[in-house]
């Protein structure tokens, strides 16, 4: 299996010297993200996030299934991540690397366990029929900071997604096709996003956000903080690495909050733009007015 190319000693020395002097290789500030682009597909529930040269695509799909017997009132919500050789030849099919496991755990904790999606609202008939919402995350290109890009893509795709409308009449459940009734959005409770900090230097005294692949390979430790714009932490993970001063971690948390606020604003804005684009001619408004009656 091919291994990921490692940075040479010269690259490392140059990078660290530049960092000491307060410069990053691409000229960004320490707390600056790369160019971020978020696009939605023609279909509902497809989000394509480009962060510098990192590109991640998330697709949401829904189907009706039987709930788990121990949770008859809850819908099923799964997030699957699989890194393919497309992102790097070092990834093999059906052999999850540690990076992949940590990424999927991060998304699980950030989006699923923080109850961002109200799973009870996915129940159709208790114990018999529920919606199963599935997010597939595809990493198309990996140039560092997969965590933040993936999390944004998953959250954006879920907020963009519309599931088919349903109605209950007595005992019969009707699921309408998109042609019959406009699909409805998921019941969404809050928007968690994550920010990853990477630490450099012997004492971990320098902190970068949104690292490129090269920067990521040279970090001494990193910390991923997930929170929403209301300042609720959903998850913090600093798994080992060089010990870092507690004070700088607390600082990271406040920077993360500020970044998450910016990202949420961007997401809200993009979603608004997209719905405006779809709503050409006010057709949707007409439909929803009809439904309201």
């Amino acid at each position: 299996m091919p291994r990921e190319a490692e940075p040479s000693l010269n690259e490392k020395a140059f990078f660290l010297q530049a960092l000491q002097d307060g410069h990053r290789l691409d000229g960004r500030k320490f707390e600056q993200f790369r160019q971020l682009d978020l696009q939605f597909g023609d279909q509902y529930g497809v989000a394509d996030v480009t962060l510098g040269k990192t590109r991640v695509l998330a697709k949401v799909s829904a189907e009706v299934t039987v709930p788990y017997p121990d949770r008859p009132f809850d819908g099923i919500f799964t997030i699957t991540t699989e890194l393919s050789p497309m992102a790097s030849p070092a990834f093999e099919v059906n052999r999850p690397t540690e990076q992949e496991v940590l990424l999927s755990r991060l998304l699980e904790k950030t989006v699923r366990r923080s109850n961002a999606l109200d799973t009870e609202s996915l129940c159709l008939i208790a114990g018999q029929k529920v919606w199963s919402i599935r997010v597939d995350l595809h990493v198309l290109s990996h140039d560092g900071n997969l965590m933040d890009a993936s999390c944004l893509a998953v959250v954006a795709a879920l907020r963009h997604f519309r599931k088919p409308d349903t109605s209950m009449e007595g005992e019969t459940l009707t699921i309408y096709t998109p042609a019959e009734r406009e699909p409805v959005p998921l019941s969404w409770l809050h928007t968690p996003l994550c920010i990853t900090f990477s630490f450099y230097g012997d004492e971990g005294e320098m902190t970068l956000v949104d690292t490129t692949l090269l920067e990521e390979q040279l970090k001494v430790s990193s910390c991923t903080i997930s929170l929403n714009k209301h300042g609720e932490i959903c998850q913090v993970a600093k798994l080992g690495g060089t010990p870092v001063d507690a004070v700088s971690l607390v600082q990271c948390a406040s920077i993360a909050l500020q970044k998450v606020k910016e990202l949420s604003t961007l997401l809200d804005q993009k979603l608004a733009e997209d719905s405006k684009r779809r709503n050409k001619g006010g057709l949707l408004a007409e439909l929803s007015a009809e439904n309201a009656r």
Binding site: M1, R3, E4, E6, R95, P96, T97, E98, Q99, E100, V101, L102, S104, R105, E108, K109, R113, S114, Q217, S221, C223, L227, H230, G231, E232, I233, C234, Q235, V236, A237, K238, L239, G240, G241, T242, P243, V244, D245, A246, V247, L249, V250, A253, S254, L257
Partner: protein, 280 residues
Amino acid sequence: MPLDTSTYNLALLRVDGRRWNDLRRLHGQIRTQAAADGSSYLEMGNTKVMCVVTGPSESARRGGAGGGAGGPAASSSSSTATTPNGAEIAVTIVTGGFSTVDRKKRSRTDKRVQELQAGVAKALAGALHAHLYPRSTIAVSLHVLSQDGSLLACLVNASTLALVDAGVPMTDYLVACTAGSTSGHGAGDEGADPLLDLNGQEEQELPFLTLGTLGATDRVALLVCESRVQVGRLEGMMAVAADGCGHIRAALDRIVRDKGAQMVREGAIAKGESIGMDLD
């Protein structure tokens, strides 16, 4: 499991009768397995963990050390962390099916277990002087016998003890401890108190984090939080946990010194010039 934590505000006593900054009973043994290079047994309250260290030994894997994290070894049951030009630290966690109330077997390929393994391995990699053992593997095998909260902290502490027993040089004791908060995640409840060393019941009810420090310093090697909590609570919880880590370090140090003194008494090792430290 609905647990009435509101009683805390009345008596300022927790469900098991502790105050906010009390640790649970900490009992540890070192050198429990004669055949292993290093071994330990640690109880933090009712969380009980056994650890066996093998190595540093020849690397089992072909292809050599020095690969970045996320190397090919992740496909096997253990998680590894490599240090630049140093030993590879391979951590395996086995959870007994009898360790919790609901006899649920967690397979070793469970992502949750793999994450725990990665966390312990990477934290140890930062604390050990692994560069002294290039091209070798230090295998840390952890067995969870009983779970009652603060599992990750207990795993870290047990591996530290076993590595001390194995004689692997490290900067300082790597110790970990949990801290929680009595507030809900949303409320701007000002009267919320931080709590130290949560048990299983409290972990289900309250937001908490696990903090690992290098010795009694404020230098954070490990920080894991899996519950919703206000960002403002973070600092307080971390401070309490760091304080707890200091106490745990002292406790671990006592265990090691007692064992050392006992071994000298029993004549297992001669009290020579090299043992200059105070073995009361």
